[in-house]
Symmetry: C2
Subunit: 339 residues, 2 copies
């Protein structure tokens, strides 16, 4: 591979400079994405049409010259493939018309095979071929707890009381659903790897709403199952808000750990030890500032993480209205930084 | 005072049992509150009518027999007193028709004196007299950063990009507004103490959205100013989501620190040291479970915090639809627990 900085960093090797990519780099920050999105008209159509998903995945590679591509898709393709379709509502985000509330609902869910999400697998093949071995391609999925929360709540939530209560009140039922999600996710991610994904990232977006005990019981075992099943493919686990789980996550069979911007590099390294690569974690709000400030804050972060085992990213997906010149300033600052 | 367990715990004295109260104990969990609220029809009228605010404050004392009263009010009375009125929208929460975006907006804000929130001060006098020295009365205010975020965003937000960006882009302007909020809050809390509040709690509800660096620069100094100004009244600082700031908060002139449910008692004690009282932190979702489970989880928490310097509470305000028998089970479990 022409530029395998990301893979080197995940293996713990010293790199000539730090690799950089952005969560949500393929999306609304790019004018070419917004034009395409307006023409197609539907987010789900974009996700489900391999040609379009491939085009969107490649847009930031050309525009931003990042060190990795990440397949354009959505974490909610898994519940849909399991039998729970979702809709993307403007200004509201994803909504599930039906949700999981009873054991019968859980029974109705199928363990999705590769065919349920074949559009993403096809898109990966197209991207892989177009990349022509220049940079690695990242596949991804939602972590089982986060997918569970969406399936029970039916959308995002301020307090997630339905899904969290279910963990306390119906633990067997919760585990049964988490098991089906996990198996579906393993099938899906293995298919992504077979199609060409070089790395996979698990997004545990709602990790931070759980107490440490609940997280240990209802998220960690499923993350472990997925990480083990995917060996030897490098896995990055990004558990947003789960400062309390960093040392546990470092014990998983994963090569990297994503960090949100509330976690200082020192805290992360103290908790995680030296055998895992850290990814992150500039506050995405920094990119609304003047360029000299963007540069200064990026340099500070680069320094704070130290020379090794660091993949540069934001602490969250880039916000859709972020100025493109700030994104480019961030990326260029990383590239010019001498380790 | 007949029952001063809360004050003893805040002074670090050994108590015969642990004191217990609930954030949002005066509110929608109580049928008597819901009846009154339906009759009055407006949340703000309830807050602004001393007789009603007094009645609501006393309702949980009779119904739940908790170890402290907390004045019924709202953290947003301060921005309103500064010149930025809010409305309470059904199913949406507070909304500010006008927000702070420019230096001129900041200039327009006044430093509120006691008279701007005299209804709460009057309510405190009524409550204090009705309590007749049986239990302590807690006054409260929002922390300056949280009030700032509301004034800039105009409501709650998923990402708080406007308010956080302002910290990066317009730091002097942000500090000017935070200064006015802080002075107003000091005036307000001093008036609460003069009227009879025995303890005050600062709610930094949106602490967890800031990076540790931003929190250190834009929240901590203002918390310190308030804590110092209120000496020798005991202050409890509850910075939700700010796991990264616990050791800094322990250095403030405050007697207690609130903890949300993502923070384990051991982590909190390790970070905070032994010279501060910890308050919290049962996951409020536990109260949706069966009573034996509520009891078991409460006992576990009581044990995990150890015998001293602990005030029992939830890790967040009690959710409005929490079953009352679970709340009572929680409280009774605390009262029957032998330290």
């Amino acid at each position: 591979m022409k530029n395998d900085l990301l893979l080197q960093a995940l293996r713990g090797e010293a790199t000539r400079r730090k690799p950089v990519w952005l969560m949500r780099q393929a999306g609304r920050i790019l004018p070419q994405y917004r034009r395409l999105s307006e023409r197609v008209g539907s987010f789900k159509t974009m996700v489900q049409t391999p040609d379009i998903a491939c085009e969107v995945t490649l847009q930031p590679i050309e525009e931003l010259d990042v060190d990795a591509a990440i397949i354009f898709s959505d974490i909610l393709v898994i519940p849909e493939a399991m039998g729970l379709p979702y809709e993307m509502e403007k200004n509201k985000g994803p909504v599930f018309p039906a949700t999981i509330g009873t054991a019968a609902d859980v029974d109705r869910m199928i363990i999705a095979g590769e065919e349920g999400v074949d559009y993403t697998v096809k898109a990966i093949k197209l991207v892989k071929s177009a990349l022509n071995n220049t940079i690695p391609l990242i596949g991804f999925a939602g972590a089982p707890w986060t997918i569970f929360a969406y399936m029970v709540e039916g959308s995002g939530s301020k307090t997630f009381t339905l899904s969290r209560s279910m963990l306390y009140n119906r633990p067997e039922m919760a585990h049964a659903l988490l098991h089906k999600i996990t198996q579906s996710t393993i099938n899906y991610l293995k298919a992504q790897v077979s199609a060409g994904a070089d790395v996979v990232q698990l997004f545990d977006t709602w990790a931070g709403i759980l107490s440490p005990q609940l997280y240990t019981r209802f998220s960690m075992p499923y993350l472990q199952q997925i990480c083990s099943a995917l060996q030897p493919t490098p896995v990055i686990v990004f558990a947003k808000g789960a400062f309390f789980a960093l040392s546990e996550i470092a014990q998983l069979s994963c090569a990297g750990m994503g960090l949100d911007w509330t976690i200082s590099p020192k805290f992360a390294r103290d908790m995680a030890g030296n055998n895992i690569t850290l990814q992150g974690n500039l506050d995405p709000c920094v990119l609304y500032a003047e360029l000299p400030f963007v540069q200064k804050a990026t340099l500070q972060m680069l320094q704070d993480f130290g020379p090794n085992r660091h993949i540069v990213n934001l602490g969250h997906g880039v916000y859709p209205d972020t100025p493109l010149d700030a994104v480019k300033c961030f990326i260029n600052t990383v590239k010019q930084y001498k380790i």
